[in-house]
């Protein structure tokens, strides 16, 4: 964390960090530019990054547990692609929105639209998958794929009709960016994350029982339909909020739960807190790389997570094939 704060386009010494925190709590203004960068830019960014990493990973654990399927990632039920569609509509059509609406939302126009896009897409997936009170996991998955495709083509259409700078904004957003981090964002995402992490821990036992299948879980006193609704709700809420501010960051939610299952097993009670920590750490590292590789310019963080994440994922899969031959990790 301290490293991540220290390195960047502007390097900050630990002594400056310390004095900046001191000044901050004494209610004074930062003494020099380094302290200013630290308090106003670097610290919120690193915090937002860590929280987002934790959210994406925890959401990966929840979704994989719920779907009882290791290839599921948080975006599968439409949340990320819906957010992307919402954001791209803003980038392209913003000029046509009424000025009152824009002045009301201010700088939160993109996050707001992304948030509602995410909610709407997930809601569509969920209600289409619903079949006489029951929601089958298979139809959730399939309808999720279909709705993702629709949102993706919508985003594609938006970039097609967009002018050049707008199209660049869409691309950049789709690759994730933490450069606009502010304390307000940290506060919003952090609050949502804290509440949802605590709630999701309460469901760890029920999610474990679900590993045996819905019927067995019922015999152990779990109501699978209720559990599905709750987990979907928690997951959508936190992923939409995070995605709304930082854009689409792929692979985190897929890879972190996998790494941890190999390391500490599949008990959700351990998996959830561990994925929180590992997710936060990995995304902070990724963001540090994103800032340093082309410094003072920045690489979109989604490029780093996919570029580094995908090979690691393949290596893990190969290893896990080996385990499978011994009769191990099959899914």
């Amino acid at each position: 964390m301290v490293c991540a704060i220290a390195f960047g386009a502007v390097e900050i010494l630990p002594s400056d960090m310390f004095s900046a925190i001191q000044h901050f709590f004494q209610g004074k203004d930062p003494a020099n530019i380094y302290e200013g960068v630290f308090i106003q830019i670097r610290l919120p960014r690193v915090l937002l990054c860590a929280i987002t990493g934790a959210i994406l990973s925890v959401s990966g654990v929840l979704m994989q547990g719920l779907f009882r399927n290791p290839i599921v990632e948080p975006g599968l039920v439409g949340t990320s692609s819906g957010a992307a569609l919402g954001a791209s509509i803003v980038f392209v059509m913003a000029a046509k929105f009424s000025p009152e609406f824009k002045s009301f939302t201010g700088p939160f126009l993109v996050p707001l639209m992304a948030f509602f896009g995410a909610l709407a897409a997930t809601y569509v997936v969920y209600s289409l998958a619903k079949n006489a009170k029951r929601v089958s996991i298979m139809s959730l998955l399939l309808i999720g794929i279909a709705v993702n495709a629709v949102c993706l083509s919508g985003t594609g259409f938006m970039s097609y009709i967009a002018r050049d700078p707008q199209a660049r904004s869409i691309t950049f957003w789709n690759l994730g960016t933490l450069s606009g981090a502010s304390w307000l964002q940290v506060f919003i995402v952090g609050t949502v994350a804290t509440i949802i992490f605590i709630l999701s821990l309460r469901y760890s036992k029920q999610l474990n029982a679900l590993l045996l299948g819905e019927e067995e879980a019922t015999y152990l006193g779990v109501n699978p339909d209720k559990l599905k609704r709750r987990i979907m709700l928690l997951n959508t809420a936190m992923v939409s909020v995070a995605t709304a501010f930082v854009g689409v960051i792929s692979f985190m939610g897929l890879i972190v739960p996998h790494v941890l299952r190999l390391l500490i097993g599949s008990d959700n009670k351990r998996l959830l807190p561990a994925s929180m920590i590992l997710g936060a750490t990995l995304l902070t590292l990724a963001d540090m790389c994103a800032r340093l590789i082309l410094a003072p310019a920045e690489v979109p963080i989604g490029i780093i997570t996919s570029l580094v994440g995908a090979p690691i994922f393949i290596i893990l899969l190969k290893k896990f094939n080996l385990l499978q031959q011994k009769g191990g990790y099959n899914a």
């Binding site: 590993l211 152990l220 006193g221």
Partner: protein
């Protein structure tokens, strides 16, 4: 005691179960027999509370199970289904501990660990504790699942009577473990447990069963003590198979020979 009154269950227009009324007493080993598709598993699912949209009523100790919460029911009713699978790797002791889930909130209590140890000891699974469930053979998995199910209702509940349902529990077990399994189940039944098992092997059913229930096309054709109801004509009607019945020279139970 378990009472079933006028159970009727349809899927679409097809009668899966047709007006079944019967009762099961604690202390007895009840065996359900019948051809494929005769409604045996459905029968078990209705009695265990998994299926709810039937007509008629199922009473545990004169209390309708439809009015009871799943959480409460799970404290004294356990079910072993056909071949449950696990989607992610877990240790054997973690799987057995799942049986205790209805009894604690977040962290298992000391008692829960003690019970899991006792069950695994009884099932000769103690050396398997640290094994990955997914690396086990089919028969070993089945024994672990049985341990999980036993752990769920290992203690006598406040209600006094436990309910245990087994759906074809012997499919992947070798002849040694089939006997061991049925012995443990019978021991368990003796201790105030209503025990109902779906079986395929008639000879094992007559050896261990106190009562047999024959189902065909959703109807309860015959039920009673093996010696009283088992005969050539019944097996011909239910399964369409010709048999001869002799007396087992050692146990005295009826022994079915396929001819």
């Amino acid at each position: 005691m378990l009472n079933a009154k006028n159970i009727q269950y349809n899927i679409g227009k097809k009668h899966i179960l047709n007006d079944i009324s019967t009762e099961f007493n604690p202390g007895e080993f009840n065996m359900i027999l019948g051809p494929n598709g005769s409604g045996k598993s459905t029968f078990l699912k209705i009695f265990s509370g998994e299926i709810n949209d039937y007509s008629g009523s199922v009473l545990y100790n004169n209390k309708n199970i439809a009015s009871q919460k799943k959480e409460t029911l799970a404290k004294y009713r356990a079910v072993m289904s056909q071949q449950p699978e696990l989607s992610f790797p877990l240790m054997v002791d973690e799987v057995v501990m799942m049986g205790r889930y209805p009894h604690f909130n977040f962290n298992p209590k000391k008692k829960d660990f003690v019970i899991c140890d006792e069950v695994m000891e009884r099932m000769n699974l103690s050396s398997f504790k640290e094994r990955n469930y997914l690396t086990l053979s089919g028969g070993e998995k089945q024994r672990v699942q049985f341990a999980r199910v036993l752990a769920q209702i290992w203690e006598k509940p406040a209600e006094g009577i436990r309910y245990l349902f087994l759906d074809e529990p012997l499919t992947s077990l070798d002849i040694n473990y089939q006997q061991e399994f049925l012995q443990i189940a019978r021991e368990f039944a003796k201790k105030d447990t209503v025990l109902v098992a779906v079986m395929h092997d008639i000879n094992l059913a007559t050896q261990y069963g106190d009562k047999l229930f024959f189902l065909k096309q959703g109807k309860l054709i015959a039920h009673g003590r093996p010696k009283e109801i088992l005969n050539q004509a019944l097996i011909k009607v239910v399964f369409g198979v010709d048999i001869t019945i002799i007396e087992n020279p050692i146990t005295g139970a009826p022994l079915v020979i396929y001819t």
